[in-house]
Amino acid sequence: MKKLITPFLLLAALVSAQPSFTGPMPAPPADLRPDTLRRAYQARVDETLDWYLHAIDPAGPLTREQALVKLVRGQDAAAVSRRILELLAEPQSGDMFWMFPWTAIAFTGRDQLSPEARAAIRDAWRTYFPMRGDTENHWVMYYASLFLMTELYPDDPGETWFNGKSSEENHAEAKGFLLHWMDLATTIGQGEFNPTHYIGEYAIPMLYLAAWAEDPAMRQRGRMMLDLLMAELADNSLHGVLRGPNARTDDTSVLERWNALATYFSWTMYGHTPPPSGYGGWGIYFAIAAHHYEPPPLFHLIATDREFDREQHDHKRSRRRWRYSDVEMMPVYKTGYIRRDYAVGSYQGGVTDPIQAHVWDVTWHEDDPRGVHNTMFSVHPHASARVLQMYFTEYPDWMIDLLASQGKPSYGVPDKILGCSPYEQVFQDLDTVIALYAIAPGENFQRVNGFFSRNLRDVTEDASGWIFARGGNTYLAYRPLAPYTWDELLGYRQLPRGNSGYVWERFRPEGPVDRILVSPHANNGTIVQAASADEFESFESFQAAMRALPLEFTLEPRPAVKFTTLRGKKVAFTYGEAPVVNGQAVDYARWKLFEGPHLNAELGSRKITISHGRQHRVLDFNTVTISDYVTP
C-alpha cells in the first residue's frame, strides 16, 4: 500500500502546500448543528479536490486523479475524454487498485464522457485482467468494483468481461462475497480491524456502494458499513489520531501515530486533526464521492468528546489461517481505554496477522501530533517462516527475505517494533498493561524490544526498577521484568530497486532518535501504567505513587505478575492462564461484539447500536435499516 502512495507524495512535493496539512491545528467544531457540520465537511472535501485541480500542469497531461476531479467538478469533459483514451491505450496495471479508480471514473463520467471514452473504459474490463489478491481488503475492493460495474453494464455476456463470466454471474458472485464479509464483520468482528492505512481500502468501496449501487439493499449496506467504520474510527481515535491496537499498521504509523491514511478520514469526517501529506494518497478517491455520505452529528460527539473516561471491549478476529492451526480465525479480544490526555489499547496477544499487527500501546495526546512519536509499547520481534505459512500459501524458504523486497523491511530484523508474536500474552485493565513473554527455545530473537520515543521527557531509570517518563500531559511508568540495555532505533531508507525488488538500508535519523529498551531474556515481561499529569501534584508524586504500588513477579518457570494498579485493581496474570482481577478470572467467552459507552452489540447479532449520551443510531443488518432515536 505504501509504495502505491509514492506517486501521490511526489505530487504533493510538486504543488503548493496543502492548507490544512501545513496550517495550524484545527479546533474541534464547537457548533454541532447538522447544517454547520455538513458545510464544514464539504469544505474539507472541497479542499482535497481543489488541491488536485491546482496541481494540474497546464502544459502536461492530466493524471488519472486529476481527470476524475475534473469530472466531479463538471469541467472539460472533452479534454478529459481524450485523456482517458490516452491512459487506457497504455498497458494497465494495479489489480484491484486499478478497479475502483476506474469504477469511480465510469460512474462519475457516465453522463459527461464521450462515447469513445466510455467504450474504452468498458472494454478495459475485458482486456485487463486484475488479480483478486489475497487479503480481505483486496477482495472488498475487487468485488465492490465488480458489483457496481456489472450493474452499470447488466446484460453483457462473459466474453466482454476479463474473467469470462457474464454480468449476471459476476454480479451474483460479488454480491455473495460482500454479504459474506459484512456478515462476518457484524457477527464475530472485522478481520483487519482499526487499520492505520487499510481503512481506505474498506471505506472507499463502501462509499462507492453507498453512492452508486442500483440495488437499494446493497446501497444501504454500503452506507451502514461506512457508518460502522467511521463510528469505530471516532471511538478509537485520540483527538483524531488512531492508536493501537491495529490489525495492520506499518513502520511509520506505529511510531508517528498521526501519520496515517486513517488521519485523513478523521480530518475529513470530524475536522479535529490535520490531514496527512497528499491527503493520505488514496484520500482523493474518497473525496470524489464524499458528497454521497456524511457522518451524523452523533459520530462527531464520539470523536471529539473526551471529557469522560471510557473503556470499550470489542470482539474481532485474526486473518484467515490456511494451515498449521486448529482454528480458521483466532478470536481477538480488544480493549480500549481513552481519556482526555491519552489512550491505552490492546488485545490478548498471539498472532493475528503475521506481518503488520500492533498488539498494544499507550498513545498520548500532543497539541500538535505532526512529527511526534507519541506512543509507548513493547514487542517480541518474532519472525517465522512457519507462522507466515499459516497465513500465506507460499513455500517456506524465501518468505522472510521476500517481505523486505516487497516493502516490509522490518519483518526479519531483531530490533523491529512492528508485529505480534505467539509468545506474547497481554492483559489490560483501564490504563494498566501487563505484557508477558515466554519465547520458545530456538526462536530467532530471544529478546523483548521496548519502544521509548525521542519525544518523551524526563526519562528516569529509578532504583525501584520502574522507568518513569512524561509524554504530553501524560505520566508514564514502564517496568521491564528482566535486565536490559539501550539501543538507538535506526530508520529504514529505500535504495534504488534492483531485480530483487525493494532494497533497504538502515540509517540513523538526524536529531534526537528513538530508543529501544533491549531485554535479551526469553521469559520476560513489561508493565506499563499511564496517568494524567493533572492527577498528581508533580511528576515526583506520580513516581512515589508508583513505587508504593504492590508488585510481585517471577519469570520462572513462566512469567507471572501480581500487581495492584494505580486504580486500585488487584491484577494477577500468569503466562498461559486467564488474567484475574480482584479475584475474578477474566472470561473472554463472555466478550460481546461491542461493549462500551459508544458501541454495543451482541456477538452474532448483526445489530450495532452507536450511542453518545441520549443519542443513538442502530445499524441493523438483519433488516438492513438505520434507525436514529433519542432517549428521554
Binding site: 483478486r132 468485488y143 463470466k165 455473495g176 513455500y395 524458504d397 531485480n499
Partner: protein, 339 residues
C-alpha cells in the same frame, strides 16, 4: 527490450549446443512470471506473465493474458487447447489455447495451488485448495467441494495428482499427509501422515505402481504399491524443504528433486544413490521446479529469480535457456497430437 531479446535469441544461440533431432512430440508450457520478486498486489507490471509456450526455435513466447500468479496447468487429453490453470484468483479455464479465459471457481475458492485432469474421465478436474479440495465435473465450468474424509482443519492442499491407470483415483498432498480417493473424491483416506506440507506427488511413467512425493520436512517419499503405502527414501534429508520431483520418461531409474536450499539432486539408480547437480547452475541455486523432457530426457531446473536451465546429461552440465529473472512455477509437456 533487452529482456525480450534475451528471451527469444539466447535460446536460439544455445540451440546449437543442444542435441538436434526430429521435431519434438510435445509442446512445453511454462507457468510463471518474470521480474516479479518485488511485486506486490497492485504493482505496475513490467513484463508479461502467466503462460509461456516453447517456440519452434527453442525460445518461449507469452500467450494470452498477463497474469503474474499462475502456478500450474492441466490439459484436457482430448484437446490441448482446453486447459485449466491454478491461479491466485481461482481456477481459470481456456478453450482456445490460452487466448480467452473463464474463472470457473467463485469467491468461496481461492488460491488453488495445483490442478489436475483425470485422463480417464477428462470432464473431471481437481483443484488443490488451501482449505481443501475442489472438484469440477463439467470441464472447469463449475466447482464444488468434495472433502469427505479430509480433516476439518489440516487440509491445506499443495498438490493433487491423478492416477493415469484408474478413473477417479487421485492423490492429494496436504499439510497433514498424503490422502487417496478411489471414487473421484467422494471419500478420502490418509495413506501417509506428515507434520508439514507435502509439496509434490508424481507417478512413474514406467511403472504406474511407482510413485514419488516430496515434502517440507519429511524428505522424499516413495510408494511401490500404487500409493497405498509410502516410505521415506534413504539419503534424502528431511531437514530442508523439497519443492518438486520428476521422473525421466525416457529412461527408467532417473529421478530429479528440486529444493530451494539444496539445489538439484538426481538419482540414476531408482533412488538408491543421489548426487547434487548444482555445478553450472547459478551460485544461488534455489531451484523452484524441475522436470524432464519426454522427447529427449533433457533435465530442467527453474531457478528462482534466475533463469530456466537445461541439461542434456542429467545435471552434469547446464545451459541457460532464457527466462531470466523468472519464477517458473510449473513446466508441463503436452503431446502435440492433442493439438
Amino acid at each position: 527490450m533487452m529482456k525480450t531479446l534475451s528471451r527469444t535469441l539466447l535460446p536460439l544461440l544455445l540451440l546449437g549446443a543442444l542435441p538436434a533431432g526430429a521435431a519434438p512430440a510435445h509442446d512445453l508450457y511454462l507457468f510463471g512470471a518474470v521480474n516479479i520478486t518485488g511485486r506486490v498486489i497492485g504493482s505496475r507490471d513490467v513484463a508479461k506473465n502467466g503462460v509461456y509456450v516453447r517456440t519452434a526455435e527453442g525460445g518461449f513466447t507469452h500467450r494470452g493474458i498477463n497474469y503474474p500468479a499462475m502456478l500450474g496447468g492441466a490439459f484436457d487429453p482430448r484437446d490441448a487447447r482446453v486447459f485449466h490453470v491454478a491461479a491466485i484468483c481461482g481456477v481459470l479455464t481456456t478453450a482456445d489455447g490460452g487466448l480467452t479465459w473463464r474463472i470457473g471457481t467463485s469467491w468461496d475458492m481461492t488460491e488453488p495451488k495445483a490442478v489436475a485432469v483425470d485422463p480417464n474421465a477428462p470432464d473431471m478436474v481437481y483443484a488443490a485448495l488451501p482449505d481443501g479440495l475442489g472438484v469440477s465435473t463439467d470441464r472447469g465450468h463449475s466447482w464444488s467441494r468434495r472433502e469427505n474424509g479430509l480433516p476439518a482443519r489440516g487440509k491445506y492442499t499443495q498438490v493433487v495428482t491423478v492416477d493415469r491407470t484408474a478413473a477417479g483415483r487421485v492423490f492429494a498432498g496436504s499439510e497433514t499427509g498424503i490422502y487417496l480417493t478411489e471414487d473421484a473424491a467422494q471419500n478420502w483416506r490418509r495413506v501417509f501422515p506428515v507434520v508439514d506440507t507435502v509439496t509434490d506427488i508424481r507417478q512413474s511413467p514406467h511403472d504406474p505402481k511407482h510413485w514419488l512425493a516430496v515434502s517440507q520436512s519429511a524428505g522424499a517419499l516413495e510408494s511401490r504399491d500404487g500409493g497405498l503405502t509410502w516410505a521415506p527414501i534413504a539419503g534424502i534429508t528431511g531437514r530442508r524443504a523439497l519443492y518438486s520431483v520428476a521422473f525421466d520418461p525416457t529412461r527408467a531409474g532417473r529421478i530429479a528433486i528440486a529444493s530451494w536450499s539444496l539445489g538439484l539432486l538426481t538419482s540414476e539408480d531408482d533412488g538408491a544413490t543421489w548426487a547434487f547437480r548444482n555445478e553450472g547452475l547459478p551460485e544461488k541455486h534455489q531451484v523452484w521446479r524441475t522436470a524432464v523432457d519426454p522427447d529427449n530426457g533433457r533435465l530442467y531446473a527453474a531457478i528462482d529469480s534466475g533463469a530456466l536451465f537445461g541439461s542434456d546429461d542429467f545435471g552434469r552440465t547446464w545451459q541457460s535457456l532464457g527466462m531470466e529473472d523468472s519464477r517458473i512455477q510449473n513446466l508441463v509437456f503436452v503431446p502435440r497430437a492433442r493439438r
